[in-house]
Symmetry: C2
Subunit: 142 residues, 2 copies
Amino acid sequence: MTTTDLLSRLRGRDWRLSAQRRAVAEVLVGDHVHLTAEEVHELARSRLPEISRATVYNTLNELVAMGELGVVDVVDGPRRYDPYVTAHHDHLVCDRCHTIRDVPRTTALPQVADDARGGFLVTGVEITYRGLCPDCAARYGR
Amino acid sequence: MTTTDLLSRLRGRDWRLSAQRRAVAEVLVGDHVHLTAEEVHELARSRLPEISRATVYNTLNELVAMGELGVVDVVDGPRRYDPYVTAHHDHLVCDRCHTIRDVPRTTALPQVADDARGGFLVTGVEITYRGLCPDCAARYGR
DNA sequence: TCCTGTATTAGAAGAAGTCTAACTTAGGAA
DNA sequence: TTCCTAAGTTAGACTTCTTCTAATACAGGA
């Protein structure tokens, strides 16, 4: 297993690693983690009780801008942050409880036909599968 | 051209078509329209000045639940509503100005591998291409 | 040590959407 | 007609999530 975690990647960056930023980065560990800002704050607080909400948001936004953190939008509810940016993957989202599951991207990357692109510069593709997670499917689905 | 517009589709439904609901539906016309709730309210107001925000939101939510209206989430900024639900298509979203462009879905539908699905019931797939629209690419891109 | 720019903080403010309670309306029953 | 009921509408309060602001703290270089 050679996945480089967020914290080690950040050491190689020209980015001041304060105690607060470290606390945020330490919490964003694992390949299948999709935390809300609130959850990150909660967890970071257990390492550094005085860390503020604004700092958590600032840090998350910076990490996203640096490309070190992904964002998953589940339509309902708050944004989720995904530290697993080292391999392309897609998301299964439960329409009921908003659980997210990672799925490897096996299909060939979809392409936009040249004539449909109309001058648009395409830099990325997101595939989101929607449906019901096992729990919600058992409870409400068929 | 045989695209059935939203309003005609609604006539075939068991759904009371009040003046307010009609105003909302009349505004959601066209195959490449992605309005925010605020924009729908604004336009509906020009037909029915006393229509309230709550009614616009209620109506939009009902139409979405009925499957007669699509939702596009652009991560930043408000949700957009897309009356073009009669043909599968995907979206190109500008990361800077949040413009949306429809693209026909030409690729085969991506599939989730059985072993990655893990009991998840998949009901739909959304493909979102991200990048810069022509205007923003000219201004900021390379 | 001083200086400068970056980070952090609490709390206010903003944006988007939902909820509440009162009011209106339409249609059916008596 | 008059009454009744259920559905629809309304203004405005409220929630939730995120960003902004202004004050303060801090770190590293001159």
